[in-house]
Every structure is written in C-alpha cells, then in structure tokens.
C-alpha cells in the first residue's frame, strides 16, 4: 500500500503545483498547458480510485472525462488564444511576491485550521486531504488575482479538479451517473465561456476584467 500512497502523493503534487504555477505564468498558453497536466493527473487519480469496482459504464464515463478534460478544453482555449492572439495577458491584481505571500498565508491557515477537521475521514491519509483543500483555496484565489478572463476560466476548472481530488481522497465513491453529469456540465460550460469571452473581447476590445467597470454606471 506504501507505493500506492506515495504514488498518490506524486499525483496530488501534480494537481497542486500547476495551480501555483498558473498564478505565476505570464503566458496564457503555459497556463493552458498547466491545466492540461493537472487534468491528466486528476483523471489518473480517478482511474486508480475506481480500480476495484471497474464496470463498463464507469470506464466509459472515465474515458469521456479524459477526453473532455485533456483534449476538448485545451483545444478550445488554444483556439481562443489564436483567434484573439492574446498570448500575453498575464496581468494580476497583486504583483508576484505578494501573490506568493498570500498563497503561503492560505497554506498556513489551511494547515492550522483544518488539520484536526479531516481526522474523521477514514479512507486515506489526512494530509492528502489537506493538500487538496489547500488546492481548492488557492485556485479560488486565482479567480481573485488574475485579471484575464481566460485565466479566470482556468481558475474555475482547476477549482473543479481540486474538488474532484478532494472527493476521491475523502472516499466518496464514484458512480458513473455522477461522472457523466460532471463532465457534461463542464463541456457545456467551456463552450459557453468561450463564446462569452469572444463576445467580451469584441465589445470591450480586451479580455481584461477591470475594463468592465463601466457596467455599473
């Protein structure tokens, strides 16, 4: 069981690190690639966790998850970047040192506050859960920090991934119906978000969220 738990740690790191890196990347394409890595890790985690009660339906659902998360989403994003050639949109609210500081603060908070809380979950080892919950908070912080609409979309998707990892580690068993629902949901969401992003772009001339302030008057 030792090797598997160690392997799980690696995968968990693969899920966690891209979030931090999305914060720091200047280029959108890197961000998309990071998301691709993260979703690959998550799908493999899914495969591992549902290893024992494999059923045909489950396999199909996992396949579709992999398909959507790894191929469809990045394809859409790259198309968006190409069409509006917005390679460099990595503007953030806070400059990088402060962002790192905030991420550290969140980690620390997560560590102190939630340490006792996860003892009740019987299935896996608690600090896995800790990391995934930290991942949730930091991906939420992406939404706050990044100005570009594309990076905010990535933030939301990585948030979804972290929640899935948290669910897996918390031992919530997967059933195909749930999987299908999630994936279908994400697919639709990606399509709409892209259409929406291009509309914003046409209207405001850039994907920077702060330009939209004129809405309130």
């Amino acid at each position: 069981m030792g090797s598997t738990s160690q392997f799980l740690f690696i995968l968990e790191a693969l899920v966690f690190l891209p979030i931090v890196l999305i914060h720091l990347t200047k280029k959108n394409t890197n961000a998309v690639w990071l998301y691709l890595i993260q979703s690959a890790a998550v799908s493999s985690l899914l495969l591992i966790s549902s290893f024992d009660k494999i059923s045909f339906l489950l396999l199909v659902s996992l396949g579709s998850t992999i398909l959507v998360k790894i191929f469809v989403a990045p394809w859409f994003f790259f198309r968006l970047i190409k069409r509006h050639h917005l390679k460099f949109s990595a503007s953030t609210q806070l400059n990088t040192p402060i962002t790192l500081f905030v991420i550290a603060a969140i980690l620390y908070l997560n560590q102190t506050v939630l340490s006792g809380a996860f003892a009740t979950f019987s299935s896996s080892d608690p600090n896995l859960l800790l990391i995934s919950s930290a991942g949730i908070f930091i991906s939420l912080f992406i939404l706050i920090n990044r100005r570009g609409v594309l990076s905010q979309m990535l933030g939301i998707l990585s948030l979804e991934n972290c929640i899935v990892t948290f669910a897996i580690f918390a031992g919530l068993e997967q059933n195909p119906g749930l999987q299908f629902g999630i994936i279908f949901d994400i697919l639709i969401w990606i399509i709409i978000a892209n259409v929406f992003a291009s509309m914003i772009y046409n209207h405001f001339g850039s994907l920077d969220v702060t330009e939209m302030k004129k809405l309130t008057e």
Binding site: V113, A117, L140, I144, R147, T210, M212, K214
Partner: protein
C-alpha cells in the same frame, strides 16, 4: 344550538364564510351588483355568526382553546379565545356587521369606476385577518394574521387609485406598518429566546425567567411595534393620510377596530404575558396617552378635510384609552388590584365606545362625501336641510365623541377620570403629578374635542350651502341610514346601560393573567356605578331621566308663559347688508383662534400670494390668496433626520459595489474562510 356555538367548529365556519365571500366576490367581479351583494352579504352573515359566538363566550365566561398542528416547525394554528379576545371579537363583528349593511348602498357609487370584486375580496380577507389577529395564540400564527390584516388594508387604502394622494398614502402606510411589524417580530423573538416556545400560553409561564433588562427591551419594542398600529403620537403620521384614503366603510372599520388590535396586543403583552410590570411602564404609557390625546385633538382642530379630522380624533381617543391602560398598569405594578381593575375597565369601555361612535362618524362622513364628492369641509354647509337623517346621526356621533352626558362617550371618560383620580390619591408626589397632569390633559382634550365637533358639525350641516355641490346633495339611501341609525341608537343604549356593560367588562378585565387574583367586583348594581368604595357614584339612567324631566318642565313652562305668540320666518339679521354664503364662519376661521393660542405647539405657517394685473408696477392686485397650514413638526424633526441618516449609511455601504468582478470573488473567499474558521474551531 347554544352548545354548538362555542365549540371550536364555529371558528372554522366563520373563517370559511369570509373566505367564500372573498373568493365569490372575485369570481363575480364582472357583474357589479352581484359582486357587491355577495361580498357584503357574506360579510354580514360572517360577522353575525362571530358576534353570536363572542357573545356566547362572554356569557358563559369560559375560554376556548383549539389547535391545528401544521408540519411547519413552530407554527401551530392555535386559537385561544378567552374573554378578552371574545370582547374584541364582539367589537369587530358589531362594527363589521353595521359597515357591511352600510356598504351595500355605499359601494353603488363605485360601480363603473372601480372593480367591485376586488373590493369584496380584500374587504372579506381584511375582516378575516382582524378576527384571526384577535384569536391567534401562537406568535408565528399571530404574525401571519397581522400581515394579512396589514396587506389587505394596504390594498383597500389604495383602492381608489385614480387619486394620486391615495397611492402615496398607501406606500407611507405600508412602510410604517412594516416598521412596526419589525419591532413586533423583535419582541416575539426575544420572548421566544428565553421561554423557548412560540405559544402565548407557554410564553406566559416562561416569562418570569426574563431578565429585567430583556423585559424592558421587549416592552419598548412592543410599545413601538403596536404603537405604530395604534397610532400613538410620534408614530402616527400614516394614520391621517391612510384612513381617509380608504372607502368610507373601510376607513370606519380601520379607524374603529383595526387600531384597537394595537390596544388588544398592549393588554395581551403587558397584562397577560409579561409578569409584574415595573412602575415606569405605566408612567410611560400615561405620558404617551396624554400627549397623544392633546396633540391629536389639536391637529384635528387645524384640519379641514373631514375624514382627516376624524382620523386625528382616532389618535386622540387612542390617547384616552392609553390613559386608562397606563393608570391600571401603574396600579398593577404597585399591587393595587382593585384600582387596576377600574383603569382596565375604563380602557376597555372606551375602546368599545370609540369603535361605535368613530364608525358612526366615518359612515356619516362617507355619505356626505358620496353626495358632495369632496372631502373639504369649507365646501359643505346647510346639509341639515338636505340630509336630515345623516345630520341627526352625525350630531349624535359628535355629542358622543365630545363626551356629552346622556351618551356613552361621557361614561367612559368619566370612568377614565375616576381611575386617574384614584391614582392621584394613592401615590407619592412624582407619580401623583403625572396622574394629575394626565387628568388635566383629559379635561382639556374633552373641551377641545367639543370645540372641534362644534366646528365640524356646524360648518358641515348648519347655515347655508357654500358650494353648488352642497346645494344638490340628496339624503343618502336606506341601507346607509340603517347602518348609521343602528350605531346612533347603540351610543344611547350603551350610554344608559353603562352599569351592566361595566359589570360585563369587569369580568373581561378579571380574566387577564395580571389581574387574575382580584375578586370580580361588579362595580355597578342596578346601573348605578360605585367606584372605589363610594369615592364617586354615578347613575346614567338617572342622569337621562333628570335631563328629560328638565326638558319637559321647560316645555310646559314655555307653553304656559307664551302659548299664543306666533312665529314668522324672516331674513337672518346681518346689520342690513346682503348675506352671501361667504360671510358664514368657515372651519379655518372657527379654529384659527384656538390654533393661535397653541401656536408654539402647532407652529401654524401663513403664506399669501398676490397675483397682479400689471406684473411690473404691481399696483393692481388681481387676486390675493392665503394658505394657512401647519408646519409638520414630525417630518422636520424626526422623520427627515432619520431619512438623511439612513441615506448617509447606505452611501457608505454602496462603496463595496465597486464594479470589479475580482473584488466580489474576494468577498466570497473571505466569507468562506471566515465560515471555516468558525466551524472548524
């Protein structure tokens, strides 16, 4: 049949009668006449049944508890009708019965202008709401009933929506009632917090565990909450604009009965639920009562819109009721149970009297307005020759409200005086001063009310018509007269049989939790009322008999002395000039001297505009008009600063709406972290 009457089934029958009336009126709204007859017909039957039900409960003097449990947590539809609520049900059904009979004829003049079906619907639900408010004994159920009552009365206030004023009055009324309801909810919440249950019965037992500070806070919240509905002085601004806006038979019910639900809940809260009230509660209610009564009658004097005048008089009479209530609360806190009984009987009696003569006056005003199509007294005049019956009933109403002897208004003010006097005899210097000043305030209020109604009756009915609208007024038709006639007769009947009525009321007052201990002293035998061991004795029938005897003697004396002199009808003597209606005394003229006496209280403003033919030279004025208004003290000193404060606060809060999406997500994030911190600890 009688045993059936006080079973719990009757409550459902009453409510179903009103709901059938309401829904039926909606369905039949196409045909005006049918909708009118259906709506008011069911209201009449419903009020008859509820009247009998209440009378039966009062006669057999037992309480009826009945509970329908619902799946909703905390909300048990529990009815608890003890003698106090039965008394209020009796008032409600009496006034509703008369107003519905009146409405059969009165609503005709709405026929082509407004939708009668909606009027019938809201009218019936309004009465059902009133009855539920008085029957409910679960806080949540009570609040639902309170809300039904407030909302339906809001729709009735804005019923005549062509006139812009009504809609504005409606919104003001809407806001003020809900400010009041907020305070009521706060009070009930605090009670629920300590007693742990929403049932009034459980609250009653658990209330002794209340800490004094909490009890005082509940008192203040209840005072403000129910005070807004009752219309005490600082919170009264909605009443003079909302009551006149409603159709007359509805404003009769609103003014006669709806504001009494505030009084009912005062009694329920301060006597029934909150145990051993401290002294300052009673003193505070006494002060509020005397201020309300004095200022109410002063504003009524300055008013020349007939229905607004009557609305201000409702505030005055609520003040008088509060005087009775306040004095009995002071006695309760001092442990003098018999004096407290007198005070409470005086308050209940004046509630009954005020409901009767205020409804009578509003119905009278309604029939005048339906003939002259204006509410401004200055355009009436000489209506006594055109509408003799309405004039007689309005005169009886005005005599009753200015507490003139043979009628019922006199007896309840006499009893309030007795409770104030017994307060002045049995307390230390400070409390005694408050009692004596309240007695002074009541005396002045009685005098000024008489002055106001000489103005109202004199300018409306006597002398010559001042506008051609008033010239063509015709007597209102039968159902209106029956409505007013019944009430006028009631003022005399209750006035004369005041002794028996106060005995019944002492039974009602005794049923209240605070006064349960004191033995039911019937303060009157064979209609002579003996108050606090022979301090004061009065017998109303004897008073009436002596008055009639004196009138008879006068008549005979005049017949003997000048039997054969003839009477000729000539012109009014006016120093020889030709008398135009404009030379008659106007309402503003009549009350202007009294307003100038109280000018630093009322702050009259005076503004005249002169229109010139030659604008630049200004030698030849074409017209000179003068506006005599009252500076609205409450708007400028209480409500405007409050509004500015609220605006300032909300400006600060608007800053968080920066329009930046990231900021909003940041707020979510912070909230999430905060929540986690609390939960995880």
């Amino acid at each position: 049949m009688l045993s059936f009457l006080n079973s719990s089934g009757v409550i459902l029958i009453i409510l179903s009668l009103f709901s059938i009336g309401a829904v039926g009126a909606l369905i039949l709204q196409k045909n005006n006449n049918l909708a009118n007859w259906w709506g008011n017909g069911f209201a009449i039957i419903g009020s008859l049944v509820s009247g009998l039900f209440a009378a039966n409960i009062l006669a057999s003097s037992q309480t009826l508890a009945y509970k329908i449990s619902t799946s909703f947590p905390g909300l048990g539809l529990s009815f608890n009708i003890d003698r106090l609520s039965a008394f209020f049900i009796l008032i409600i059904s009496l006034i509703t019965f008369v107003c519905s009979v009146y409405a059969l004829g009165y609503v005709k003049h709405y026929y082509r202008k407004y939708n009668i079906g909606t009027l019938g619907f809201f009218y019936n639900t309004f009465i059902a709401g009133l009855l539920l408010v008085v029957m409910a004994s679960n806080a949540l159920f009570f609040l639902i009933a309170w809300e039904i009552m407030s909302l339906t009365s809001y729709f009735l206030v804005v019923y005549e929506n062509i006139n812009e004023q009504n809609v504005k009055a409606g919104t003001l009324y809407f806001i003020m009632t809900h400010v009041g309801t907020a305070f009521i909810i706060l009070a009930f919440f605090l009670l629920y917090n300590t007693t742990g249950s929403l049932e009034f019965e459980a609250m009653k037992n658990g209330a002794s565990a209340l800490s004094p500070l909490l009890k005082n806070i509940i008192f203040v919240c209840a005072l403000i909450g129910f005070g807004t509905k009752a219309g005490i002085i600082p919170l009264h601004i909605w009443l003079p604009s909302a009551h006149p806006a409603a159709p007359s038979h509805v404003s009769a019910i609103m003014s006669g009965v709806m504001i009494k639900t505030g009084i009912y809940m005062f009694i329920r809260m301060f006597f029934d639920i909150l145990p051993n009230a401290p002294l300052w509660w009673g003193i505070c209610i006494l002060i509020v009562g005397s201020v309300s009564s004095l200022l109410g009658v002063l504003y009524a004097l300055a008013e020349h819109d007939l229905k607004k005048l009557l609305a201000y008089h409702s505030i005055e009479n609520i003040g008088i009721i509060l005087l009775g209530l306040g004095s009995s609360l002071v006695f309760l806190s001092a442990g003098l149970k018999t004096f407290a009984m007198i005070g409470l009987i005086a308050a209940l009696f004046h509630t009954l009297n005020h409901a009767i003569f205020k409804a009578l006056l509003f119905l009278g005003a309604g029939s005048i307005i339906s003939q002259t199509h204006t509410r401004n007294i200055e355009e009436y005049g000489g209506l006594i020759k055109l509408m003799p019956a309405t004039a007689l009933f309005f005169l009886v109403g005005s005599m009753a409200i200015s507490a003139l002897p043979p009628l019922n208004g006199f007896f309840s003010e006499w009893l309030t005086f007795q409770s104030l006097f017994s307060g002045a005899t049995s307390f230390g210097t400070l409390t005694k001063l408050v009692f004596v000043l309240s007695a002074g305030a009541l005396a002045f209020t009685g005098g000024l009310a008489a002055a106001c109604f000489v103005k109202a009756f004199g300018v409306t009915f006597l002398a010559r018509p001042r506008s051609d609208e008033a010239k063509h007024a015709k007597e209102s038709d039968l159902s209106l007269q029956i409505g007013m006639g019944v009430l006028a007769a009631l003022t005399l009947v209750i006035g004369v049989s005041a002794g028996n009525v106060s005995n019944m009321l002492s039974g009602v007052a005794g049923s209240v939790h605070g006064l349960a201990g004191s033995e039911i002293i019937n303060i009157a035998n064979s209609n002579t009322v003996h108050v606090n061991n022979e301090f004061a004795v009065l017998s109303m029938p004897a008073l009436l008999a002596i008055l009639l005897a004196a009138l008879l003697i006068t008549y005979i004396l005049v017949k003997i002395l000048s039997g054969k002199q003839k009477i000729t009808v000539g012109r009014t003597w006016d120093c020889g000039t030709d008398l135009t209606p404009r030379m008659e005394i106007t309402a503003t003229g009549f009350s202007r001297s009294i307003i100038t006496v109280f000018k630093n209280v009322l702050k009259p403003t005076r503004q005249n505009e002169i229109e010139y033919d030659d604008a630049n030279l200004r030698y030849f004025p074409k017209s000179n008009s003068i506006h005599l208004e009252l500076h609205d003290v409450y708007q400028s000193f209480f409500y405007k600063p409050l509004k500015n404060l609220l605006i300032k606060i909300s400006d600060q809060m608007r800053k968080i709406q920066s329009g930046n999406m990231n900021a909003y997500i940041l707020y979510i994030f912070i909230a999430l972290m905060g929540l986690l911190l609390i939960v995880a600890k």
